[in-house]
């Protein structure tokens, strides 16, 4: 069974999440006894195709052109289906980024496929694909299996590592996609609300501030720690609702779900809704004035104290590490 990975790009660059998907797909192709194929869509696809040889890809399909510069569910669907046919793939793998969360169901519906979204674990047992994914905001894990092909799988960003494979020289093929009459919604533009700022879902380190910071002006202390750590800045629902920070930074059940290596919860009590967004972080550090705060039950390390005093000291100490 051959595997096709759709590897997402943005601004002409391949996204890390796409390479996570490719690493998993390589392992899957090996277990299914099939070939590993990749699809790049949009600006930079032709330029980036050869680099996928580092990951053991046999064939790379590229789709470029005006209709593909911005996301279009229908155009991208057609590109994936075309690449699946060209590679005779029975499984499509992609990352469940915002784009993947939209494209994967569209594909599954069009292909009448087994649909396995936002997975944090994937195994092959005999003929069956078996996946694990969080449900109830991460309070439970559900194990699902698909018994038929085609299958559409999406993987939670940062749930899997990127690993290079045996080097290959992939065969690169440009696909010409006939979109006549197919594109239904028109992409107008992309607006970034924070040029150059690292998004929380892509960060390895996150520093999140909550109400314990007392004043929106104190968020600069969070930003300074984030800067020395190369981290993204996150926000609790309370401070977003209070208008201190934008919804794009919100972490939690009604915000983003993140999976960083290191997470600082600063001035955050640790309510279920917030925990839902960060509970699978590898290492959690909590800073809170209240030693009974629920966050300390979740954290690996904690300091009881005033975040406003502790943050500058922590920033200095991290900077001193060099």
């Amino acid at each position: 069974m051959n595997v096709l990975t759709y590897i997402e790009s943005r601004g002409g660059k391949i996204r890390g999440a796409g390479l996570e998907a490719l690493t998993v797909a390589r392992d899957l192709a090996g277990k299914l006894g099939g070939t590993l194929n990749a699809l790049l869509i949009g600006e930079g696809s032709v330029t980036n195709a050869a680099s996928l040889g580092n990951y053991g890809v046999a064939k790379v399909f590229v789709v470029e052109g005006g209709d593909f510069n911005g996301y279009s569910p229908e155009a991208y669907r057609e590109a994936v289906i075309s690449a699946m046919k060209a590679s005779d793939a029975g499984v499509v793998v992609m990352s469940s980024t915002s784009l993947g969360k939209d494209l994967a169901p569209v594909l599954a519906a069009r292909l009448d496929a087994a649909f396995l979204p936002d997975c944090t674990g994937l195994e092959v047992e005999g003929e069956k694909l078996v996946v694990r994914r969080p449900v109830y905001a991460g309070r439970c894990l559900i194990t699902l299996s698909a018994t038929s092909f085609p299958a559409v799988i999406s993987l939670r960003p940062k749930a899997f590592l990127v690993a290079p494979g045996v080097e290959t020289s992939p065969v690169v093929t440009t696909l010409n996609i006939d979109l006549s009459g197919k594109v239904k919604s028109r992409f107008v533009e992309y607006k970034t609300e924070s040029a150059g700022k690292l998004d929380v879902t892509e960060a390895d380190v996150i520093v999140t501030g909550g109400r314990g910071l007392k004043d929106p002006a104190n968020f600069v202390l969070v930003e300074e720690l984030a800067a020395v750590l190369g981290a993204a800045v996150g926000a609790s629902r309370a401070v977003v609702d209070a208008g201190w920070r934008s919804h794009g930074e919100q972490i939690g059940q009604t915000g983003k779900v993140v999976n960083p290596t290191l997470y600082f919860a600063v001035g955050i009590s640790g309510a279920i809704q917030h925990v839902a967004g960060m509970r699978s972080s590898k290492v959690i550090v909590a800073i809170n004035k209240d030693k009974e705060a629920p966050i300390f039950k979740l954290a690996d390390y904690g300091i009881v104290g005033d975040a406003i005093e502790i943050l500058p000291e922590l920033t200095r100490a991290v900077k001193a590490l060099g």
Binding site: G70, P73, T97, S98, K101, D102, P105, V106, A108, A109, A113, F115, V130, P134, V135, Y136, A137, R139, C140, L141, I142, T143, L144, S145, A146, T147, K184, R186, V188, E189, Y190, K191, T192, E193, D199, V205, H247, G248, Q253, T254, G255, L262, I272, A276, R279, V283, F296, L298, D300, Y301, G302, I303, V304, G305, D306, E309, I310, L314, A317, L321
Partner: protein, 248 residues
Amino acid sequence: MNIAVLVKLVPDTEATIKIDADRRKIAAGEINFVLNPYDEYAVEEGLRQKEKSGGQVTVISLGGDEAVKALRNALAMGADEAIHVKNSGGLDMLGVAKTLADVVRGRGFDLILAGKQAVDDDCGAVGAMVAEFLDIPHVSIVTSLDVQGDKLTATREIEGGFEIFEAGLPALITAQKGLNEPRYASLKGIMASKKKVIEEVEATITAPKVEVITLTYPPQRPPGKIVGQGVEAVPELVRLLKEEAKVL
């Protein structure tokens, strides 16, 4: 405008979730079930669009008896009609979307709204799948919607920013937090909703392509430690993060 809103009843986000003895679903026990929070934004948007352009709002929910509670909540907010798609379980996500599309098809809806995801399965797939089955445009994770005549402009929230899309009606939109502020049901609305007749239809049964093997709790984190109090604890924290956790 003829508006449809897809809604679902889900456990309250505050609820303590316990896994049932069969280890394939949760124990309904002491849980408070509510209208899916993202569906509230969808219902509210439907009501606002109706208030702007006239028309009516029909809410649709697939499920067992619990689906009726979701419909009554939406009717109490101000929806006009309700359809209960009766399903006793066993459908996978594709099957759910197929049957909802079958119910929606042919009823002349101009705009179909849904929440961006249900907070129980957290899949976020049904909206996009229904649009695909109906062969209509869709925009998901929408934080702003403007309908002018038979065209809409939608703002979609993605990593690091927003995308703007345009589409012709009929179209499907999935609602993200921030799209609007949902209204509370008025007492009058609650009383009126009890009298509304809910249309009942049977779900189309399709064999699932995905089956549930088991439901488990996530692995327990080993207990952490409070390193100390105040700024004096900072050097030790940094040392532990570097030498023990090896994350610095």
